[in-house]
């Protein structure tokens, strides 16, 4: 039951000559729902790229289901921050979801009935089956987000990786979004990366903070004390740009950052 899905051991990454990840170790097991918070530029996207095998660490080891990620990343359902697609790309919701099957189906082959049944199923799961013939660009940010979750789910992943999933979702749709995740977490491990503490703390059962280094909080349920502990690790920059979330002991945190970083 506690199969280890992702394992990072002492991973160091230099991105364009700048140290982006420092000595990051992480283990994600089958039923984990891990939230990773950290400031913009703290290495969140870099970490995801390392897990996906899109970026090779300069030092350290990454294993996905016991193998290098290039081999096993098809078991990851990836939901990118904002897909860089063109708004008026001539493609329907249905076709977008099916592209999730393209790696599974193999080269030179058409999609078969199994692919279509799965696509149908996941679109129902995210509540978007009625939108299947719409052009993707015509949907709202939140609706698109759900389509991209469907596209990730159609690969039948063992783990779902979400990069800043609430960035393009308006507040009214966030509740539904968390409902979806709540259901999914019964079936797969989920890693959710965000700079928004609110987003992370809602439904995760483990929290880590990332600001070049990874601070892992808790292999058990989060207690209020622990949440506080989380917020006190180098979250000072998280408050950047979201003034209403300014956290206390802001100044002390800045002073302590380096000291804590070495602990």
């Amino acid at each position: 039951m506690t199969e280890e899905i992702i394992k990072l051991e002492d991973v160091w990454v230099y991105y364009d000559g700048v140290l982006a990840l420092e000595a990051v170790s992480l283990s994600i097991k089958q039923q984990d729902f891990l939230g990773i918070i950290g400031p913009n530029g703290g290495g969140k996207t870099t970490l995801l790229k390392v897990i996906l095998g899109l970026l090779k660490p300069n030092r350290g080891k990454v294993t996905l289901l016991g193998n290098p990620p290039e081999k096993t990343r098809k078991f990851i359902g990836y939901v990118p921050q904002h897909s860089l697609f063109e708004r008026d790309f001539p493609i329907s919701v249905w076709e977008v979801v099916l592209t999730g099957r393209s790696g599974q189906r193999g080269m030179f082959r058409q999609y078969v009935r199994e692919d279509k049944e799965l696509a149908h199923e996941v679109l129902k799961e995210v509540g978007m089956i009625d939108f299947k013939d719409r052009q993707i660009g015509k949907l709202s940010g939140g609706e698109q987000q759900r389509i991209f979750i469907a596209r990730a789910l159609v690969t039948e992943p063992k783990i779902l990786l979400l990069d800043e999933p609430t960035a393009s979702v308006d507040t009214s749709m966030q509740a539904e979004f968390y409902d979806i995740l709540e259901r999914l977490k019964q079936r797969m491990a989920i890693v959710l990366v965000s700079h928004d503490i609110g987003a992370v703390s809602t439904c995760v059962n483990k929290i880590a903070c990332l600001n070049r280094r990874l601070f892992y909080h808790g292999s058990k349920e989060i207690s209020p004390e622990e949440l506080e502990a989380v917020y006190q690790c180098p979250v000072d920059l998280i408050a950047h740009g979201i003034p209403h979330r300014v956290l206390r002991e802001h100044h002390i945190e800045i002073k302590n950052k380096n000291a804590k970083g070495k602990s």
Partner: protein
Amino acid sequence: MDLLEILKNPIIAGILASIACGIVGAYVVVKRIVFISGGISHASFGGIGLGYFLGIDPVLGALVFSLISAVTMGMVSRRTRLSEDTAIGILWAIGMAIGILFVYLTPGYAPDLMSYLFGDILFVSSQEMTLMLILDIIIGLVVFLLYKELLTISFDEEFSTVAGLPTERLYLILLCLVALTVVVLIRVVGIILVIALLTIPAAMARQFTHSFKKMMLLSALWGIVFTQCGLWLSYLLDWPSGATIILVAGILFLASFFALQRRRHV
């Protein structure tokens, strides 16, 4: 009857060209690889020059050169730290310079040079049409076999890598399709103007549909409209065919664009 006899080959060539530019142009427009496509077509001039120099058919030289430049540009822009548009700019110019040098080194006069640069569909030979047909078949077959892969990488390359597709190889295949299309279009509009037929019909088609397959079909149809109208006009007015085709395409596109734009605002 006489007129049809004269224009039979150009009409067929126009249709063959429209098939290639319809299919591949749709990818060029949605994947935003217009600039790299321009680079591939211009760099293929190196092959034209080489053809003259070696005394072989310049179109064959262009075929080899456009394929090589497609793969080189794709790899250089993906694998090195050079930014993509810089890499394209450099290879674009190198290809053309090689062509100019070879033409210069070839003793005597280079016949038809202008027609390779600007097209001359009225004098297309049946041998050239055979080549166009073969290339059309190859393009159609590759797109048929790799339709889902090419659509997936066009829509979201990062995701397709994660989904387990060989994204870089597929991208190079797509660029090679562009290279083949350049060769199909050389006789019709010439190297310099190829980019217009790779973009205008597809951009036109995109205004009318949200389905990628329909976009391909429509852009091939628009290509036929443009080439045939341009062809007749150029014959009647004795204007250069390549430029006439492009101007017909450009004017129709701009007219439809602004008409649709206005309708949306009302």
